[in-house]
Symmetry: C2
Subunit: 333 residues, 2 copies
């Protein structure tokens, strides 16, 4: 990919300022792609992700013996913290080790958990959940809809890049995440790669023992109906390319249980780094582009208005899930 080192921005902003006139006397510059804009971000615009917020999920190796590691970034406060507490507890108790991917529904979700939980076709014994799990909304069970108050958060945000979207509400980016909002209420949205908490019918709110990730067009109708707890930041392809289940809702049917992918372990990255058996040089250094940075604003604008050479007509807008937050391995990581 071409890199234009000087005036990377001026070339694609329609303006009649002095810099535009100067540019006109130089060679014509190609407008940068969103990825090229991100490459130009300064070191200070990247925000380190705490390893305490990262889950490392190891799937069984693929048919050729290649390892498959999926990295999940858990949401920081104030979102979904009760479920995040449970998930870290389950990871630290080793509860997830040995569960499997039991559901792969095309253009929808991949879901993993105890294959003997809530699966009428399995006759094995359920794994016992550890002590100390929070029951989210427990105090509100009487009103039959405990989730309603748990899935949104009151925040005061002053952001420029908030747009009315097709879901009757608005959406935008905040502290590294894609959010929806209405009045003073905010919530994470179901974009590709987001991770949520499986649940049964309300008033069940889900414990965190059953998790899923989005592998298709954003199922935004799930927003504010299920708890989102994070997103896959590496290795989503190991999940999205799994064979689809032929049972109802994409669960693997009884004659294809062998397609369930075993999950060897899910750990908090910070624990792996502190482990005595950690290999030398092990790191989990990831960072996201600050959604409050100047470069992010340019990137988001360019996602909505592609002017790089392939494009002949900028769209004039983009939905929130078509503006993913750039995440990378830290350059020295």
């Amino acid at each position: 990919m071409k890199k234009i080192m000087n005036c990377p921005v001026a070339a694609f902003i329609a303006t009649f300022t002095l810099s535009a006139i100067v540019l006109a006397e130089e060679e014509p510059k190609e407008a940068l792609s969103p990825n090229q804009i991100v490459e130009e971000a300064s070191v200070e615009e990247w925000v380190a992700i705490p390893t305490e917020d990262l889950l490392v999920m190891r799937l069984a190796p693929d048919a050729e013996g290649n390892p498959r590691e999926v990295i999940i970034q858990l949401m920081p406060a104030p979102f979904s913290q009760g479920w995040v507490h449970n998930i870290k507890l389950l990871a630290r108790e080793g509860w997830y080790d040995g569960i499997s991917v039991n559901r792969v529904q095309d253009n929808y979700v991949v879901q993993w958990g105890d294959p003997n939980y809530d699966n009428p076709e399995s006759d094995g014994e359920k794994k016992t959940l550890p002590d100390g799990l929070k029951v989210m909304g427990e105090d509100e069970y009487t009103n039959d809809e405990p989730l309603k108050n748990l899935l949104t958060t009151t925040l005061t945000i002053d952001q420029e890049w908030w747009h009315k979207d097709s879901y009757g509400k608005s959406s935008g980016h905040f502290r590294g995440w894609q959010l929806g909002y209405s009045d003073t209420q905010w919530w994470p949205v179901h974009c590709y790669g987001m991770v949520g908490v499986g649940r049964n019918l309300s008033p069940d709110t889900g414990s965190g023992a059953e998790l899923y990730t989005v592998i298709g067009h954003a199922p935004r109708h799930l927003d504010r109906n299920i708890a989102l707890v994070g997103r896959v930041i590496e290795g989503i392809e190991y999940l999205s390319s799994l064979p689809r289940g032929k049972g109802e809702l994409g669960f693997y049917a009884e004659d294809e249980f062998d397609k369930r992918t075993p999950i060897l372990s899910i750990d908090v990255a910070a624990d792996l780094l502190e482990s005595e058996t950690a290999p030398a040089g092990l790191t989990y250094d990831y960072e996201y582009l600050s959604t409050e940075s100047e470069t992010f604003a340019k990137y988001a604008e360019a996602r909505a208005n592609r002017r790089d050479p392939f494009f002949i007509l900028p769209a004039g807008g983009a939905d929130i899930c078509n503006i993913p937050v750039p995440v990378r391995s830290a350059p020295n990581g």
Copy 2:
């Protein structure tokens, strides 16, 4: 799934009419899911898809020897007819037979064509294109942007279900397709499973020899920048679950050419049915739910406002790609 045979609609429409009062005296009904609403559609609301508009793409069998057949519905007039002409010609000339899937980019597209075309890592010979292909926009090459006039269509449509979307334009359903519009101009949009024509930089408009389908969140920034020619109506999972390419843009890199999936054949369904070697009982009878039908309006409303038992809060809207057009095998097909 539960099926409520009486009054399937009244239960989810907020109304104070007599029927609602009558319902109140009966057992409470659960609101229907969008799929349940579609199941209640009358026979007359389904529209048969001409087999002349269907492509049958046979991939090489999977690792276990299972056949993989992908059915593509080509767009009818007035959209993209020049490319559709080319694609049928290429299919009928047998030109596609023996090509392969060369690109699988996660959350984006699967692309198939001649592996030796436009792939710097391949040193094989390009397949020769047949005579009779149209060069779309040929007469307008002088203006450097021949696609601009070819990718939109002037139509007069009177539809209720058209909404402003995040792309600065409006969108809705028309004659079985998802469309975007602005003023009197209309165009197909890049939803999951849509099939488009690969091209090089403008003024190239693509011949139809290189095709792709969307396997992730709708890349709507491609709308009006590339020709869309149809959609996958069956077997998308054979494409969406293929291993992702490790090369640039998801192309299979030189050391993984063995991951390219061979395409045994692409044929027009009507030709297969008329073939002397057609197996007895072969059919390609598909139909879509009329987007102008009463049931479709209810279905679309329910996609935007889920009230079936799992949901606690209807979204209040949905983007066009989250309201796919129901397609099925004809019951007697």
